[in-house]
Amino acid sequence: MSGLSLREKLSILADAAKYDASCASSGAAGRNSLKSKGIGSTEGSGICHSYAPDGRCISLLKILLTNFCIYDCAYCINRSSSNVRRARFSVDEVVRLTLDFYKRNYIEGLFLSSGVIRSPDETMAEMVEIARRLRIDHSFQGYIHLKTIPEASDELIEQAGLYADRLSINVELPTDEGVKRLAPQKKPETIRVSMANLRLKIEEKAEPTLQTKRKQRFAPGGQSTQMIVGADATTDAEILTTSSRLYSGYKLRRVYYSAFSPIPDSSSALPLIRPPLMREHRLYQADWLMRFYGFEKDEIVAAQPNGMLDLEIDPKLAWALANRHVFPVDVNRAPREMLLRIPGIGSKVVKRILDIRRYRRLRLEDVGRLCVSIAKVRPFIIADGWSPGGSTDALNLRQRLAPQPKQLSLF
């Protein structure tokens, strides 16, 4: 192992990290280097510095500290029974790589995760040390996301929160049964408790302290998690149930869905499939509807046979087609909640409609200037001089709005 060059290690340990979907660098508190005269800043919204041909944003240096691991999770490239090449960065190497990359403006910061070697505390301590050196020794003000290890001690989590912008713990799979089957050594109960503790700590530190009247710094970017989709038979309805449980219980900023992807040296416990990318996409859309459009999970999946989201059309359109009795919606009169339910209209457009309504009435062509495609919206709205007539209830409406079927070419 010591014979590996830095480049070889980077190649192995980035490869080992790529199945983690999250690369977000958003949500951090505003920070810059004007005072410290060092480097680094975060200004709320993240920046994607590059994109790989898999369409995923590259915002952070996403690596593992090591891919040696005592766990044997079937879906994971780093499981202990896998024959992948193993490597391990030194603390110093990660610090240097992060700073060197940051100074070239390749990245927003570091997303550090790790296989668990020896004990959870030992691994977590090294990760925290990397964050500490970046923040304290190098006054690095960029983004730091640490993947915390559920079993790590309270003090280490406390320190991690002090240096990191975001902490995350992966729930791995949507159901406890799935975790038990595919990741037999992981304890879903422990993962839940760790997320609960993180939420309590984030809330506790958000209160100003009695002595200093100032908020303590603790993971200002909140916590997130990821689950793998398609590695077992869990339905979308069950997945979204888990998501709404996670959002409501642990105040997660994001739940990431990662389409199960084949890995090198795969385990026989897993299906040999191409990653269900469209399913992943629909889950993100449904997740969005729950968080920003006032949809409840049950509404989204109610009309879906077998609890699976429609792959052909997006979940908002699917809901509208199944609930045509609430349409058409009058854009000049309907409340915000109803405007948000119109297919093809996003929350920004809704805000603009409400702004315009204060001063004048909208015609169909006005709405057309606000949204991307009026064709999708037209059957669902009433505007000045426009009524969809029978088209809202037309039997072939779905056919007219669904994208033309085409051969999916994922490979």
């Binding site: 280097s33 070239r104 219980g249 990318l277």
Partner: protein, 482 residues
């Protein structure tokens, strides 16, 4: 007929535009009577026109702050028509003060589109500038070549200062350059691509990272290009890898799918033996002989489906030889997170009142009739749900065993659920509160309300009165146990 020609000092001369626009609009000069140009085009085509009118005395011009913010961005747009568009909007706003709110207005729509395009360009510059390090030690500097779509270098420079304060850097573009020497910013003339070195020692590591982080099994070339259009590629050191990565993706993914699972790695057996065998031996005993063992058993309780959505079992807490056991309904949001009973808002009321009644919480055992939190998620919150009879009865197994081990002198049932669990039937609490019922097995059960009931009363006076009645009940409990 054109009467005025305005020549701005440069492409981003907002101050110049603002001064001219103010004079013109206050002198009622119509948009179609003005030609806007920059110094560069004036040099080519000549200035012409008549001098700008003076500001009329005593007249002032008010515009929404939002317009100034948008205009400062839009002035950086490369479209030569932007100056006239801004003036037209300024002109129209005299009669239509809310014009900017009408996003469907064609002029406003163009303005918003321009503002968006500039914002996007600014964002992409922050993303795709690539610095190259030149010089060592004292002479270390970072330089970059970037080709923005609009005239955004000056507007964007403060961002790079905030981020790279401790570095000395220069960003060159065809239109202008920005230089930061660690103390101050200088805006200089444009440059050409060949003026800026391109090779950096870190490029190779970055390229290694780029190709390793790519997952060939999920090729989405369109998604990549939507966010990273090809026009940026020639200045990105990693972009030259893209065609080969795409070409090889299919084969790489196929190989992963087709490779048969191999034998476990050699170290796997050792890890299994050393780490996991030991762990699996620390099993929970099947019959609990004390509270700690009972608690460990309850951790994995699957007697009803409530565990599925809750975080954890919230077991009772307190000394094994407690004289009084308090039983509530079920853990709430806070209890579920903390894993301890009575730590939420109702728990705080409980603590205050029993302290007033002279009961020492340290000596009590507190627990719940149902040990998992039952709720429905509503957006970012969890709404408490009353446990049903089936759940109460499934969980009675635990409370029975807790009581068997503690053998208290008195049990206090707080609320209907606790009473139902302890007495095996529904009891009208409001009518029977303050009374003690003796069970067939001789256990004395004191009935009272659940402290969360006090919190749910909206009327302040009524809540205070209820709290008083609860205190009276607790004083009775203190007496019974004395």
């Amino acid at each position: 007929m054109v009467s005025y020609s305005v020549t701005l000092a440069g492409e981003t001369d907002f101050a110049g535009w603002r001064d001219a626009a103010r004079r013109l609009v206050l002198n009622d000069v119509q948009p179609q009577d003005i030609v806007w140009q920059t110094q560069a085009s004036a040099d080519l085509f000549g200035a012409g026109g008549v001098p700008l009118p003076e500001l009329p005395d005593g007249k002032i011009l008010n515009v929404p702050r939002e317009f100034v913010d948008i205009a400062e961005g839009v002035i950086c747009h490369r479209d030569p028509a932007r100056f006239a568009l801004l003036y037209r909007l300024l002109w129209r706003m005299r009669d239509e003060p809310h014009l900017l709110k009408i996003a469907s207005d064609p002029d406003v729509a163009v303005l918003r589109e321009m503002a968006k395009s500039v914002r996007r360009d600014i964002h992409k510059m922050r993303a795709f500038v690539r610095f190259v390090r030149i010089g060592e030690g004292e002479d270390e500097r970072y330089v970059a070549w970037f080709e923005p779509e609009h005239y955004i270098v000056e507007r964007n420079a403060p961002f790079f200062i905030r981020r790279f304060t401790g570095m000395r850097w220069t960003i060159f573009t065809p239109h202008a350059s920005a230089d930061w020497d660690g103390e101050k910013l200088s805006i200089g003339p444009g440059a050409t691509r060949s003026d800026v070195p391109r090779e950096d020692t870190s490029n190779e590591l970055w390229r290694t990272y780029f190709s390793s982080i790519f997952n060939p099994a999920r090729l989405k070339v369109k998604a990549m290009q939507a966010e990273m259009p090809k026009k940026y590629w020639r200045n990105l050191p990693e972009a030259s890898l893209i065609p080969d990565l795409i070409k090889g993706a299919d084969a790489a993914a196929r190989k992963m799918l087709e490779t048969m699972p191999t034998m476990p790695a050699p170290h796997h057996a050792k890890i299994q033996e050393r780490v996991w065998k030991k762990a699996s031996e620390e099993e929970v005993p099947e019959v609990a002989s004390n509270l700690a063992e009972l608690r460990a058993q309850a951790d994995g309780c699957r007697r009803c489906p409530l565990w599925r959505d809750a975080t954890q079992t919230v077991f009772g807490e307190g000394p094994e030889n407690a004289k009084i056991v308090f039983v509530g309904e079920q853990p709430g949001d806070q209890e579920d997170l903390a894993g301890r009973p009575f730590v939420g808002p109702a728990g705080r009321v409980f603590d205050e009142v029993i302290e007033q009644a002279g009961i020492d919480r340290e000596k009590l055992y507190v627990t719940n009739a149902v040990k998992h939190f039952k709720f429905v998620p509503r957006g970012k919150r969890r709404l408490h749900q009353k446990p049903n009879a089936g759940e109460v009865s499934a969980c009675r197994w635990w409370i029975d065993n807790e009581l068997k081990m503690i053998r208290p002198e008195l049990v206090v049932a707080m609320g209907a659920t606790a009473a139902q669990s302890l007495l095996g039937k529904a009891v009208p609490i409001t009518r029977m509160r303050g009374q003690t019922v003796t069970r067939e097995d001789g256990l004395k059960v004191f009935l009272t309300i659940h402290p969360s009931f006090i919190l749910r009363i909206r009327e302040k006076e009524e809540a205070r009165a209820e709290r008083g009645r609860f205190l009276k009940d607790m004083q009775a409990v203190a007496k019974l146990a004395a």
